[in-house]
């Protein structure tokens, strides 16, 4: 034995005589947060892997030296590591005090790579070099070999320049990434390793973790960046995941069977709400921020999981004072509470992705202010609605995705126009249908209710170059299955290039064209079956028409239709245009006709049917349509209404089986005066609240 080793052993022996013998309680559960051990005198941090947000758990672990090679023991809920003060394993309980344990056959050197296995109650630790290697020691106090050191292989056979490793939650292998970015899988029973490829990032990865889904997280000491790796991929790559804490000395531990999101405690993560193609949810490594005192606007909300458009947050930080006008200056108002760097991206080519070069604002510092900025979107930005993402953070240079410990992300659906264009936005209309045509039905006008919005882009010559048509299903009180479409009367379908039409349902780009073939005038077919887009609850027969029947499913849509040849505004049809429902093919739709399908159309009163409607159905049952007056009863009542309450309030449709007049008493005076009296019959103040759907 060398003199050095002799003194070392004496030192360790003496140290262990003075080690703490009291035993703290274990952690109460398997925590979702990761543990990060840092500093020359050990300090323990808790890290939220979702955002990189971290907080000091303890600056006094009962030692004046480092603790490294830490791992969380799933079997007893203690953290284990290597205490440099004692040159041995330490155990840390919920009081964050290190308790030294005496190893039998201690190798006599300090270790900074270690973890606790899941398939056995044992601590594994490693140091490269022929005199060292991979070891394990049982942590099972009932076992005969408790704390006995077993050398699995020497450190020249298992030769890696690594700084931490972690056990996979289900396959019993250890994983690590060396300083050059090589990903290794280690068989702990034999000490053999497999090289899985270079993950594309290099550096000192001093803290590595797994989550319950087998995703591998590696934290780089120099900049704190946390990367995520799919170790099962054919070519595993390290994708940036979050901005975490940096440190010269780092080691991590985590309960590998815990999910990274702990929904048993109040949410502390802010997400965006754009469609997930932009990176919104955690699954898509979306933009997310930890709770802090700096955010956009005057408020911030936190969620366990991201809302995705059309489910949205209440964003309040940005106001687009003008549309974004391609190639020239536009005005953007930004409010920030606290301070940080503002970055704004825009999807100029509308491909559903924020590319790194699609920036509107880069690292603009703003502090407790509301400012109006001149911004310029690129000349080539496509006109129409697109998505813009704004992120505020104390960290400069962040990307459009991934976690940040502070600040906020807000996503906006905004209009991009060209210079000289005007946007005329029609008032919102609620199109309410009675679907029993040609029979009058129960006249609750809630068999189909669609809120529709539309806006047109005018050239400087007052020609319509594009229409944006969008809507949301508000009610489906029908037993029949109906499709929904809209006709633009007198607009020829040949004036539309279907490949340039953008069609989204629930924010998801559709790969089918909504332009219906074979019609005389332009028809946009939104869906052949509205009911297929929503989910009815077990206790409710219909969608949002019955008392206490709240339904969280939704269906909205948007269609952008550019015209090949702009159409003079004077001859362009007016809102609400000509929306209609139609029968679903091969489905029962009343006793008047056998499976009428697409040929059965129900329009607003006196609107023209499409060329696909079967006009021989006119005049059947209660219908008194003829060539000039269509879709009305002998009393002149319609099967569809277009209600435009303005933008300040929603229109509330009648509940199931409530006659329309019971819900809106002033409707009779409005009708009998030809619209000259009770012109705001539709307002909520003029409704009978318990007769309308208000949930």
């Amino acid at each position: 034995m060398s003199k050095f080793r002799y003194y070392n052993h004496v030192f360790f022996f003496v140290a262990l005589l003075y080690c703490q013998t009291s035993s703290a309680s274990p952690f109460a559960s398997c925590p979702s947060k990761a543990f990060l051990m840092q500093q020359a005198v050990a300090q323990l941090y808790g890290v939220n892997l979702v955002t990189g947000e971290y907080s000091l758990l303890s600056s006094d672990l009962g030692t004046n030296d480092k603790i490294n090679a830490v791992g969380f023991n799933f079997h007893d809920n203690y953290i284990y590591g290597w205490g440099y003060e004692w040159g041995s394993i330490v155990r840390i309980g919920h009081d964050y005090q290190a308790e030294a344990l005496t190893l039998v056959d201690n190798p006599g050197i300090n270790f900074f790579v270690g973890d606790v296995a899941l398939s056995e109650n044992a601590y594994y630790f490693y140091k490269k070099g022929e005199n060292y290697g991979l070891y394990k020691a049982s942590l099972d106090e009932q076992a005969a070999d408790y704390l006995k050191t077993i050398k699995i292989t020497d450190g020249s056979t298992l030769n890696m320049t690594i700084f931490d490793f972690a056990f996979h939650p289900s396959n019993e292998y250890l994983y690590t990434v060396d300083k050059n970015g090589q990903l290794f899988r280690i068989d702990p029973s034999s000490g053999s390793k497999s090289t899985l490829g270079n993950v594309g990032q290099s550096g000192t990865f001093g803290a590595v973790y797994f989550d319950v889904d087998g995703k591998f997280y590696i934290s780089r000491n120099s900049d704190g960046y946390i990367f995520i790796i799919d170790v099962d991929a054919i070519n595993p790559t390290a994708e940036f995941f979050a901005y975490g804490p940096s440190a010269s000395q780092n080691d991590g531990a985590r309960c590998a069977v815990a999910p990274v999101i702990d929904d048993s405690v109040p949410a502390t993560t802010d997400y965006g709400d754009a469609p997930d193609s932009f990176g919104t949810t955690l699954f898509s490594n979306g933009a997310r921020h930890g709770s802090s005192d700096n955010y956009l606007g005057s408020s911030i909300s936190f969620e366990h999981t991201a809302k995705v458009y059309p489910s949205v947050d209440q964003d309040d930080g940005l106001v687009f004072l003008t549309p974004l006008i391609a190639g020239i200056d536009s005005l953007l108002q930004v409010q920030a509470t606290g301070s940080g760097y503002l970055n704004v991206w825009g999807d100029w080519n509308r491909d559903g992705i924020f590319s790194s070069n699609e920036k509107l604002i880069s690292d603009r510092y703003i502090s407790d202010a509301t400012e109006v900025f001149l911004v310029e979107s690129p000349f080539g930005a496509l006109s129409g609605f697109t998505w813009v993402r704004a992120r505020l953070s104390s960290i400069a240079g962040i990307v459009s995705y991934g976690g940040v410990s502070d600040g906020e992300v807000e996503d906006y659906r905004v209009l991009v126009t060209n210079p000289g264009n005007s946007q005329i936005q029609d008032t919102p209309f609620y199109i309410a249908f009675e679907d029993r045509w040609p029979e009058k039905g129960d006249y609750d006008m809630n068999d189909v209710v669609i809120e529709q919005n539309s806006s047109i882009l005018l050239t400087e010559n007052f020609e319509v170059k594009q229409i944006e048509y969008s809507g949301e299903l508000k009610a489906l009180g029908a037993a029949y299955h109906s499709g929904f479409a809209i006709q633009f009367d007198n607009v020829l379908p040949a004036n539309v290039d279907p490949t340039l039409v953008r069609f989204e349902i629930n924010g998801v780009l559709q790969d089918i064209s909504p332009i219906e073939d074979g019609t005389e005038f332009l028809v946009i077919n939104i869906t052949n079956d509205l009911e297929s887009h929503i989910t009815l609850t077990q206790t409710c027969e219909y969608y949002k028409t019955e008392s206490n029947c709240i339904n969280s499913s939704f269906m909205n849509f948007s269609v952008t239709v550019p015209f090949i040849v702009p159409i003079a505004i004077d001859i362009f049809p007016e809102a609400p245009y000509n929306p209609f429902i139609f029968g679903q093919p091969d489905m029962y739709h009343g006793d008047s006709f056998f499976h009428p399908g697409r040929s059965l159309e129900i329009h607003l009163k006196n609107k023209m049917p499409t060329s696909k409607a079967d006009l021989t159905m006119f005049g059947v049952a209660d219908d008194r349509s003829n060539a000039n007056t269509t879709y009305q009863t002998s009393n002149g009542l319609p099967w569809a209404l277009a209600v435009n309450p303005g933008s300040s309030e929603e229109w509330k449709h009648p509940k199931e089986r409530v006659d329309f007049l019971q819900a809106y008493p002033q409707f009779s005076e409005f009708v009998e005066s030809n619209g000259n009296q009770s012109s705001t019959w539709f307002s909520q103040i003029n409704s009978v609240p318990n007769k309308t759907y208000n949930f």
């Binding site: 106001v319 004072l321 003008t322 200056d329 005005l331 400012e371 900025f373 001149l374 209009l415 000289g420 005007s422 946007q423 005329i424 936005q425 029609d426 029993r436 029979e439 039905g441 129960d442 006249y443 068999d447 005018l458 400087e460 009180g477 029908a478 037993a479 027969e541 219909y542 007016e574 009343g590 607003l604 009163k605 007056t629 009305q632 009393n635 002149g636 009542l637 209404l641 277009a642 435009n644 309450p645 303005g646 933008s647 300040s648 199931e656 089986r657 006659d659 007049l661 019971q662 008493p665 409707f667 009779s668 005076e669 409005f670 009998e672 030809n674 619209g675 705001t680 307002s683 007769k691």
Partner: protein, 159 residues
């Protein structure tokens, strides 16, 4: 026929509207009984659409058309943009606009522009927020009210 007259002071028993969405068309029968005790009076109007009659040409829509004129902008002036919106609030002379309610968003040009805006009957007031396109811009706010019985509104920012 004004069907409201029938029973506005009467009680209603809206009994078992047996129809359901798309499945039936039977209607409640309306009863009117002046002998009903006052304690039975409920504030629900009487009548159903069975009794309602409409002119065959009446299309059940209503609204208001506003002729909006934007004057020509002096060529020497900085570019200006205007938002014409119906939903806004004011607190101590600070106007907060719901930009989703904007009926027109356009730039002033060197020539006079005419627009026709179709408004809901519920949209009785509009704000025109005019922005100079420059850093730290502050807007000019102008207003239109339907109570003035004006169906045309000219906005001239040169003065």
């Amino acid at each position: 026929m004004n069907i409201l007259y029938q029973n506005t002071l009467s009680a209603i028993l809206t009994l078992f509207l047996v129809s359901c969405g798309g499945e039936g068309d039977a209607k409640s029968n309306v009863s009117s009984d002046s002998d009903v005790a006052p304690t039975m009076v409920v504030d629900i109007p009487i009548g159903t659409t069975d009794d309602l009659v409409s002119n065959t040409t009446f299309e059940f829509t209503n609204g208001f058309e506003l002729n909006l004129i934007l004057s020509a902008l002096d060529s020497s002036a900085v570019s200006h943009f205007v938002n014409i919106c119906s939903d806004y609030t004011e607190v101590e002379k600070v106007y907060t606009i719901n930009y989703d309610s904007c009926r027109l968003r356009t730039s002033f040009t060197a020539t006079k522009q005419n627009f026709t805006l179709s408004l809901s009957a519920a949209e009785t007031e509009l704000i025109a927020q005019v922005w100079p396109i420059e850093n730290n811009a502050t807007p000019i706010n102008l207003f239109w009210s339907r109570t003035d019985n004006l169906d045309a509104w000219e906005i001239d920012i040169n003065n």
